[in-house]
Symmetry: C2
């Protein structure tokens, strides 16, 4: 609860902190932090996405950045609140280049967690509210050009007569949301998308697909869904929304366009991006190149021995559209994560005989339980009613350092294990290999660490539990024959269809494909925190590798993630690009070392 | 300012009022009104849009409605505020059938103005927030139909296998906004539009057209414009918005479809609506028919003597697209209202030699002055900042009875006359005939009374004032010759182009065209308050005739007006239609007499 005492306490802390920073006295500022402390900076100090862990790291960061950042004008916003001995609150501040908003938690009078985020570049604010365009030029103007004429001309010119400052490869939700932010910041941008229409990357997926995250989590920037929008958007509905969004946000969206290759000229500091559009090969020369080709990266198409001899149908899960054609057919789905479960259910619903091959353990979280236990505090109708806007929710979410996140999540998933004990017991009885993550921290940590290893249960687990979908678990695929799949336990499954739900590689696979293997290795693996758990090798990074922040390749950026992440982090990616366009100094602090090339 | 004393006063008044109504004691309730009092009811008591003026009218209304309406549960919402001796505040209430929201003003402890509006039909509330659809059916379902499959099937079926409950003729902003409300209420509706795409009624207008009302006034229901949307939307931009809105709201929008005729079967209480769609003639059989063909109605094409002999180009203002073709040409624009001014400016900007013919006086309001003096309290960035949502603004706007509106507007336009005295002086010097309405009440009253007689100046007045656009005023057109226009003062204007900016007829002209002259005369004139001023013959009605409320023709409704009116009144029109669909009793009180057939 908000109260006067904690607000006074926070105000006093902030006054001391501000005074130290005004004197550029980093040591005095650091002395106000707890030994167990974290400062998460989304740009203002580091021009990076960076969590400083402990006083030593914070001191080093301040030492390196304070004199250029020139922070000031720290102001507590609203009342502080206190619970479990932790006082927390909001504040605003400025740096030389920008304005920011932050969140702080105090423990025993010292700072435990600090979040500093950039909201605006001074002098380059988005036009909104009172600063919005007038739309019409009043008065009389000879040879007046209308909005439509100007728009049509600019669209025809960009990429031909005039070069975009930025090219975004991939026009899914990520590219579109980022495109909208860049548009509002006045960064000339082209979004390159191979499909015919915005939203097609959803439309082309298996037809039963719905968003697994609820509507409150999924808003796009600037234009929230209306309040009747369904909790879980069907894929074609979200596709239509994205198409409409692209249109009304006036994005330069080059549909039916394929990016063939990209190379960086170190001298001119310019990309040469070769695209095919309307049967023509064009070269774009942007300064910044964003790969927004899906955080899941390149489909991981495993070449099982003998696959070439298979006489039935076989495809990667990303190519699966519907089970309609498989009534009465024997289908083998290799994999046991989200897509594998959805596809098994789809095939079963269409009357197929389905077997899932589970090669390693999987975390199962029932959708309803997940929403209630893990998301409802920030993203739910109740949160909206209690005044938590999407923006506030995103900032609270961002205020928890990744280092301490697992410890906060473990109890949530313990509760989940209890609540859904019956389902878990039945799944285990059916032979399903369950886990809750190596440290019991559950779904979201798995998502951050490896982007895989779980299924948000919307029904398929019941099919597994009661054997309607057959299960072979703890086996690997030994080889594929003309009409069957042979497993490591010696069993042989007859098959008319094999679906490889074998996941995706790292996003830098796209860099290898479009730019070069050299550049892909130079930037290294994308995603993952360096937790040292499966598929997330250490050392510890504390932030997602290469996502939304400078990489080892100048002018190359990676953008992706779920709708929540795309929405929130596109803010910081767009500000970084805008700052470079306006030649605002952007000294990057704490660029990560590259330990893994994929 | 909100204060405890006035809140107590209002609470006490409401307690007394509620107690009287709970006893069904109309006389006691009426005794709490001032002699000078107004009760504006948007459905809950009257199932009509009705202002009761004075205690006698209020008593009669209560007498007729109280026992069926069964009002109750009156609750003051928020704090009251007081200024100039008037205490005002908000409240909620219920009737047997519905929930409502209201606004009240007390003067000397008695009620001066009361507004009661219907927000929901009990048991038929719109699905929103917590009651929104889930979007996906969790669990596994054999033969599952996806959202897209269900939508595609329903769209193919409606109008062929299944009949819509409602047909809306006209898919402009009005039809679309109403369609969205009916959709959310679950009323099967088809919108019939002759153009190819939603928004074409804007796209096809003269190319320099922008909305004359600012963005805060123009939001559509449910999905407000994002906060960078320009103040004055260019016509093609608003057109794109309407197209996308139609799509994401999932309206059954039959584009490229013409309504040929409609007739009502008194026995089956069903319309027979003949439309042409895709080269096919179809008959739709809805219970309710809405004409949303533009509040301006049928273009008023005046047949001046000799017009048929004219050798140049001539068209009604509604057909004017651009001045591009007229550089160096002699153009005569007959008329002096909004369209006439916009078209004169457009022609002049394209290098034409332009003469405006002003036949009678016109009210000129500079756009900036109008926004600042007349709109900014409710519809502006400042209003948004001070917490006035669009919904609140609409209700405050609706809370002022039309009877007292002119008196409130006169001082605003006096201020306008002072502020822009220089422009007005120069216009008069150029011969322009100015007015501020017969009683000095200015633009909005002219709009309500006659829907014409003014120009919102966005630049053309300067052209008139300094003679760049020539003016002939106080004359009428005597005849048209092969190459000229002859005026009543004997002068003759050579002309290559004549634009007839001669306005529009009443909306019931559409009823005459589509249904029959009989029905058009039975419902009578649309729009106008009965003020007894020019083009708004008495007797006094106190509300817009036939708009958004029951007409003398069962099952026939008129919808239209500017974006603000379409947004707000579509709420009440949609609730009336839904109530009839659900067979909720809707006894209409105070149906207006028909005094004028057009």
């Amino acid at each position: 609860m908000g109260d006067a005492t904690s607000t006074r306490q926070l105000t006093a802390w902030m006054a001391g902190f501000a005074a130290s920073l005004d004197r550029r006295d980093g040591a005095a500022a650091v002395a106000m932090f707890d030994d167990d402390s974290y400062w998460r900076d989304l740009l203002p100090f580091t021009w990076n996405i960076k969590t400083l862990e402990g006083k030593g790291s914070i001191a080093a960061m301040l030492d390196a950045t304070l004199h250029e950042a020139k922070p000031g004008n720290w102001l507590i916003e609203g009342d502080a609140s206190v619970s479990d001995g932790v006082t927390e609150g909001w504040f605003t501040f400025e740096t030389e280049a920008a304005r920011g908003k932050g969140h702080i938690r105090l423990k025993g009078g010292k700072c435990w967690t600090l979040l500093t985020t950039m909201t605006d570049l001074k002098g380059f604010e988005e036009k909104t509210g009172v600063t919005r365009d007038k739309g019409v030029e009043h008065g009389v103007i000879k040879e007046r050009r209308t909005w439509l004429e100007r728009k049509t001309l600019a669209e025809a010119e960009l990429g031909y007569g005039a070069q975009p400052y930025c090219v975004v490869v991939g026009g899914g939700q990520g590219g579109i949301g980022l495109g909208a932010r860049l548009k509002r910041l006045g960064v000339p941008t082209i979004i390159v998308e191979k499909n015919d229409r915005p939203g097609d990357s959803w439309r082309k997926r298996y037809k039963s697909l719905c968003l697994h995250d609820p509507v409150w989590y999924d808003h796009m920037p600037y234009l929230p869904f209306p309040d009747h929008w369904p909790v879980f958007s069907p894929k074609d509905k979200i596709a239509d929304w994205l198409e409409m969004y692209t249109k009304v946000m006036e994005l330069n969206y080059w549909h039916s366009t394929e990016c063939r290759s990209a190379s960086y000229d170190e001298e001119s500091k310019e990309w040469e991006v070769v695209v095919e559009r309307g049967g023509e090969t064009l070269t774009l020369r942007p300064k910044q190149l964003v790969l927004a080709t899906g955080m899941s990266g390149v489909p991981n198409v495993v070449e099982f021995p003998g696959a070439a001899t298979f006489k039935g149908m076989q495809h990667h899960s990303s190519k699966h559209t519907s089970g309609e054609a498989y009534a009465g057919k024997k289908c083998v789905v290799i994999g046991s994560n989200n897509s594998a479960h959805d596809i098994c259910a789809d095939l079963w619903e269409h009357g197929a005989d389905v077997t899932m091959i589970q090669r390693s353990s999987t975390h199962i979280a029932r959708s309803e339980t997940l929403m209630e236990l893990a998301l409802s505090g920030l993203y739910s109708e109740a949160a909206v009613k209690s005044g938590i806007t999407t923006d506030t929710a995103d900032l609270i979410f961002a205020s928890v350092p990744y280092k301490i996140m697992p410890a906060l999540h473990v109890p949530v998933y313990q509760q989940m294990a209890e609540r859904d004990a019956d389902l878990y017991a039945r799944l285990e009885k059916a032979g399903f290999l369950l886990d809750f993550g190596e440290d019991g921290s559950g779904l979201f940590m798995k998502y951050l660490r490896r982007g895989s290893g779980y299924y948000i249960d919307v029904g398929a687990s019941e099919l597994i539990a009661d054997g309607r979908v057959k299960l072979k678990s703890g086996v690997t695929v030994q080889r594929i024959k003309e009409h069957s799949v042979v497993l490591s336990d010696g069993s042989e499954l007859p098959a008319d269809l094999i679906v490889y739900a074998t996941g995706y590689g790292s996003m830098n696979g796209w860099a290898a494909r479009l730019i070069s293997q050299d550049v892909a290795e130079k930037v290294g693996k994308c995603w993952g925190l360096g937790s040292g758990t499966a598929k997330d090798p250490g050392p510890w990074e504390g932030e997602l590798r290469n996502m939304w922040k400078p990489t080892r390749q100048p002018g190359l950026w990676f953008h992706g993630g779920n709708l929540h992440q795309s929405r929130h982090y596109s803010q910081f990616l767009s500000l970084q690009i805008k700052a470079r366009m306006e030649a605002i100094p952007t000294p990057v602090y704490g660029m990560g070392k590259v330990h893994h090339v994929n």
